[in-house]
Symmetry: none
Subunit: 294 residues, 2 copies
């Protein structure tokens, strides 16, 4: 049978023992030092032992105080963990898993608007493109490009269909239109079949990629912006560069057959819901590629 003294007093003592100063504990717990002082004294009275010793301006834990700290700190940590695992409030952290380039090219440039709308929510981003494991992965929301079916236990928020097309620096636009084969066809290691896929969907002869291979999609895009060639890119990834005139899409965009979606646990989690709703809104406002035909 447990016999616990005032939990509030235990919490105050633990904070004071951890900080070594009652004023710091008071700051952590958002009370005055005198409240901490009284709680610690109250606990000493309840337990019948001194927990601090030494002069006022240089308090030290007693041996009993040290021993109590050994148990209290992990116990309160565990309470905190337990509470965090179920709390569903409108503040706190939100873990978002997202492909790296999408994070950099689309999400991060827009995330400030979510922070403005929900300043109490701290969004933590993790780069990942791998298939979602709803049991093992510890995300709140995962953004992915792919095709249905999505894991049945997750709630799916569609963002936009993926549109792909050749993009290059504006100086290469005429060459691309006249004879695309005259321009180096850049590709990335992660999407080696990008050109073949695009050709098939665009109804063109299968073109092999003749230009350099880049380890990351982001590097390939930078090469294209620098005029080193033309590459196949999804519309969301290059939309801002197109609008800025850094890149151009001489042959337009076509659907790739994949879709961007946000996935979250079906359990009603307010922060996840808020985030997915916000994503959907941003995707809608994002619009379609210029001259999109299908």
């Amino acid at each position: 049978m447990r016999k616990l003294p005032s939990l509030n007093a235990l919490r105050a003592f633990e904070a004071a023992g951890r900080h070594g100063r009652m004023t710091l504990a008071a700051q952590e717990l958002h009370v005055t030092h005198s409240a901490i002082s009284r709680q610690v004294q109250h606990l000493e009275q309840l337990l019948g032992v001194a927990l601090f010793e030494g002069p006022k301006n240089a308090l030290r834990l007693t041996e009993a105080g040290n021993r109590l700290m050994l148990g209290l700190t992990p116990a309160f940590d565990q309470l905190d963990l337990a509470v965090r695992s179920v709390a569903d409030t409108q503040d706190g952290t939100l873990d978002v898993s997202c492909p790296g380039t999408f994070t950099m090219r689309w999400l991060i440039p827009r995330l400030y608007r979510f922070r403005q709308a929900h300043p109490d929510i701290e969004v933590r981003l993790t780069a990942s493109s791998k298939p979602v494991d709803s049991v093992r992965d510890s995300f709140d929301v995962a953004i992915r490009a792919g095709t249905a079916p999505w894991p049945a236990e997750l709630e799916v928020t569609p963002l936009f269909d993926e549109q792909i097309g050749p993009v290059a620096a504006p100086a290469l636009a005429a060459s691309v239109i006249e004879d695309i084969a005259s321009v180096p066809l850049l590709h990335s290691r992660t999407r080696r079949h990008a050109w073949a896929d695009w050709s098939r969907r665009a109804g063109r002869d299968a073109d092999d990629a003749t230009g350099n291979e880049y380890e990351h999609f982001y590097f390939m895009l930078e090469a294209a912006s620098a005029g080193l060639g033309v590459c196949i890119a999804p519309w969301p990834m290059v939309a801002d560069d197109l609008r800025a005139g850094i890149l151009t899409a001489p042959l337009g965009f076509i659907a790739s057959g994949q879709q961007y979606v946000a996935l979250r646990h079906s359990r009603q989690h307010r922060k996840s819901s808020l985030f997915c709703d916000w994503l959907a809104g941003e995707a809608k406002a994002f619009g379609l590629p210029p001259g999109e035909t299908q």
Copy 2:
């Protein structure tokens, strides 16, 4: 940074979840069911999730409730352990380490008086005669016979000097007085030199023990009581038998040079202090052997 809700509400929920009934949780925590009900509801509001579901008379934990319980129960157990490890109050358990025969012959016959005086203290006895290791041994109080110096970090309460002398059944008293060598000199394995020590201190010729050897002092005493011989015994161990006429000490008692003491940690532990004070009182009331000359 921890962010903990009302600890009181967490405690109420944990008890309700463990018992599966709010009324039982109320009993455990010595409040009414309505207090538990309100605390659980308050916690549900703070966390933003339901923790119980189902009809009033058959509440079940929700999935979130179950998950919270997984963390809360061990955390509260740890808080309890931590508090118990330092609490020094006037109730609870007291661990006493004591030589086995002293336990049986002196302490146990008197312990009921300590229990009467302090019904909230549960005394746990451990038999041991080995030298006290103040760091490794987990006793609150240790009773030992020996000589100074005692370990410096322990507080010493003297109980009585050890007085030893030959004891036998009353039927053998005359023989012992007339010619002690005519009676079997019993000894125990643990004190093989008892007769030689006594002889030297009594100013007699060194007598070798000629009687049976007994593995335990207690067995040897039983043999003496049964008239099988005479043995050397400390006064406290045989005082009650002498008073009852079961044994007699024809040649009286002399100091053995050893002392019985109670040892406890210098730290102010109330139960230990209470116990040592009581021991000292009982030792004083115990008195000296009859006809004690030195």
